[in-house]
Point group: C2
Chain length 149, copies 2
DNA sequence: TATATTTGTAACCAAATTTGTTACGTATTC
DNA sequence: GAATACGTAACAAATTTGGTTACAAATATA
């Protein structure tokens, strides 16, 4: 997987920290170390997934669409998956269409990789954006913006 | 992730089915729907990981280095990871080096993504190449080469 | 109303990645 | 010695990814 999942989580944690105040793509991009347009792209995806709202115009920016406790990393993962290829690209494999191992390998692999992905999903579902924010707080040295909040 | 994991699993399942008979890269490539050189590359990686042996010369090819029951999908996953970027590329994210959310986000995300990856690994460890082969047998229609073995 | 701000999105570019392919030296069997 | 088959380097095409510019649309505010 690419960096989108990590950056998206970064964005959401920042928004959780901002608590209701819209945060501009410029601020988010600066924090995440990327370009504002990249942030807006991600925010668009997150918005389609119902995780954030965004406001145009002066003083605008992105906000969480619901409490940070009710947004899991699985939600983020799913939102990002809309844009990305599968984790285990079984289907893009091109097995021999003949009647041999190749043809059925595809569905077999899907069945066998499935539980692994499910396990990962379950683990991701157990972590909320609020927890990410809280964990961030622990790691933040005192005196940093956000260390107290 | 790319198709390498799926194709590598395909190769190993085929070798499990061949039971001791070396299988050439050409045969494997034909079954997996790719190029013999691609197969040899993957076999090289699997060989470095100690999962297969290979024999040069006429009648040569690849063989499992140990019983198929003792090769898990986690072994395959790990072998492939040697060649690939991380599943969740937290580290290649470029967060702001200042004293703010960005700097610590990296280690926080690593800590939070870790359990998800562990969960996936555990699930992969629970599946052996022998099981893949067995599962394949179920899906194979009768009369196909390998349907009986 | 006019201006400044900010999003949404298209378009494009450069870099990296991935897969396929050719080529060729080396090892092994017959 | 010929045929087979691997190991690997080198290269090309296609795809993906992240960054950037550009600009219309929306919104707050003076």
């Amino acid at each position: 997987m690419n960096t989108r999942f990590a950056v998206a989580t970064h964005i959401l944690a920042y928004l959780a920290h901002a608590e209701g105040q819209p945060v501009s793509s410029e601020v988010l991009a600066s924090s995440a170390g990327t370009h504002p347009v990249v942030v807006r792209r991600l925010v668009s995806t997150l918005r389609e997934a119902g995780l954030v709202h965004s406001q145009r115009g002066a003083g605008g920016g992105a906000l969480l669409a619901r409490p940070a406790t009710e947004i899991s990393l699985l939600d983020v993962f799913r939102a990002m998956q809309q844009t990305e290829p599968d984790l285990f690209q079984v289907s893009s494999t091109n097995p021999n269409a003949h009647c041999d191992l190749g043809r059925v390998m595809q569905e077999t692999l899907e069945g066998l990789f499935g539980p692994a992905i499910d396990a990962m999903r379950t683990a991701l579902a157990a972590v909320s954006v609020a927890q990410v924010k809280q964990e961030l707080g622990k790691h933040l040295p005192q005196g940093c913006p956000g260390a107290s909040g």
